[in-house]
Symmetry: C2
Subunit: 375 residues, 2 copies
């Protein structure tokens, strides 16, 4: 098994540790920035790699999207260029999703064989099967690949959610059978089941029975409230094995991160910090701050006092507001740097809190600023 | 005098040295990146500040545009935020142009008082006078400010070019009279005169008679051929004092840089390297390279073998071509980094060549790749 989790500390259901993958180790709980098409939008990868807190925390793992890479430039092209790490210019661990999430957002025609969809690039028709998702991800060569799953929106009728669980299990079996690259790639399963705790629990049990290298919770943060999501997480985690990593897919708002960690989650990914950044919305200890507002025009403070990020170290709110008002593209980079650094610091603080048994205090602090708003 | 030039080496008319300004020293000949609205387009300023060659060369000086800053966010706002250096997040020397170049591109109504123009932001009418250009630039507080000049396009009738010389001289006198901030700001004059060597020489003599801290050549690289521009430079430099810096405004193509250095120029600025970068056109030792071309899709080499820039250190042509094909905004940053680093290396090589008396060899090398094409 390439994915080896060592739990070093616990605080209630929360855990902090190290996940060893083929190309390096990840301090958990961890947040994975999303390099959609091989790079985080608006941010050169080496600038991301250089982000480091005074305590030594850095982004240990980067996620990239199979859906996009299989269509542009194509998995064979990436493989010919030396694989995803060489292509992205990132030598630490990487994870690829299966493409399922994007494909299901396109309302595909789903059959037993797979999901047929129209490319957002040129409208061409494609059939994504569990076997093809494996083949493509083995060509890409990330440290972790994901099984193709069926990802229904929420709310969906119970029979749709149950069918998603059934098909996802069948597809996971086919992914396991199709898998060839085991020497440097691990394969994570995905637990579906909507927000019905009973169905989530059953889906988790059926996925665990397949004995995968790690377990992800999919189909969450897709329209439901946070107080619907969290019980579903609890129900699934209750039956996930303690020695495997747990990954909550597509969730990255500060409140949900800290609350999911408190329920035993180890890994997160989300475009939220980077997407908000491109719209000038900044994450701070006091909640969101929209840098485009006129009130910041003459403000010589950094985005957040005491923030150690390169943006706060050098630039005033007044400059950033000016760049927003003249639509300067460098602003997206500066805000992306801040939001990712802030999220990195959050996970570093979470790990420290788990180790010192003070996660509840951190939950209250993050909650006061962040849990009053929807994720 | 705040601008103190020490010439350390000569090779023919070329010279290499150090220009001391209020906030630091500049190794000359030097290229100044253009931070139009307070930042280089598509590139965070701290990423620019971190660019450094193995030999230790870095960008010592940054240029910013008075025209843009006086309209957005306004010079008083920049002053209130601590001045241009604090605003831009750049602690090395800076230079502001007078706004004349942008204003004259808007076909202003020119009177003895100044130039009346319509803002490109909101169409509002403004009158830029020599006194206002000084006032605005003193509020901004760069290490070097420029006098307001009359900058006609080329070709222009002889009487227009002569009138530009006359008015520019009159405005320089008024700028000198209006100037208050002398403790940490130097003031450079601008020599006009088109491509008529006689008129250029006369304009240079009349500007030198005003005894300014440095001398710029304006109104070049505005439509004329390079073989028209170079004799005009020679004519002006012949009468410029040896102990003051010489600045060729708005010129930044590799051929013109090396040829102008050979004629005694010390400073350059141009948006060419950064503008080309945003269109995927890269500067290399062999000439231009358009990264969007299909031939690079499977090319695992860097933009240029042996280039020490962060982009070439980490990314393959195949990735960059992919980013171009999916219109990824991070590409502009990566290409801007390469083009500015390549230009930095060019000036470093020029300085070394002047010091070793081998500038002619470098001219031939640069010329073979770059002098066959228009600037």
């Amino acid at each position: 098994m390439i994915a080896e989790l060592t739990v070093a500390a616990r605080d209630g259901a929360a855990r902090a540790g190290v996940l060893r993958l083929a190309r390096g180790s990840i301090e958990t709980p961890a947040f994975m920035p999303v390099a959609t098409r091989g790079t985080v939008r608006a941010l050169p990868t080496h600038v991301l790699a250089d982000l480091r807190t005074p305590g030594g925390a850095a982004f240990d793992v980067l996620l990239s999207n199979t859906y996009h890479l299989m269509l542009r430039p194509g998995a064979e092209v990436v493989a010919g260029l030396g694989g995803l790490h060489a292509f992205a210019g990132w030598d630490r661990p990487m994870l690829t999703d299966s493409g399922g999430y994007q494909v299901f957002s396109l309302e595909p025609r789903v059959t037993d064989r797979g999901a047929e969809f129209a490319s957002t690039y040129d409208g061409s028709r494609h059939l994504l099967t569990p076997e093809l998702a494996v083949e493509v991800q083995e060509l890409l060569g990330a440290d972790v690949q994901m099984v193709l799953d069926v990802c229904p929106p929420l709310p969906s009728p119970p029979e749709v959610l149950r069918a998603a669980v059934e098909t996802t299990e069948a597809w996971a079996r086919r992914a396991l059978a199709a898998r060839r690259r085991i020497e440097d790639q691990s394969l994570f399963g995905i637990v579906q089941g909507g927000v019905d705790p009973e169905l989530r629990r059953e889906a988790a049990e059926r996925t665990v029975a397949l004995d995968l290298d790690g377990y992800a919770l999919g189909g969450l943060s897709v329209g439901e409230r946070r107080d619907e999501m969290l019980p579903a997480i609890e129900a699934a985690v209750a039956v996930l094995p303690d020695d495997r990593p747990r990954y909550l897919m597509g969730v990255g708002d500060p409140c949900s991160i800290v609350e999911a960690v408190a329920r035993g989650i180890d890994l997160f990914d989300c475009v939220l910090p980077t997407r908000l950044a491109r719209h000038g919305t900044l994450l701070t200890d006091d909640g969101r701050l929209n840098i485009g507002r006129a009130e910041f025009a003459r403000d010589d403070r950094p985005i957040q006092d005491g923030c150690g990020c390169p943006t706060c170290a050098r630039y005033e709110r007044g400059l950033l507001r000016h760049l927003a008002s003249v639509d300067e593209p460098a602003l997206a980079s500066l805000c992306t740097i801040h939001n990712l650094y802030w999220t990195l610091r959050l996970t570093e603080r979470i790990r420290a809190a788990v180790r010192s048994g003070t996660l509840d205090a951190l939950r209250r602090e993050v909650g006061a600023a962040w849990c009053g708003t929807p994720g």
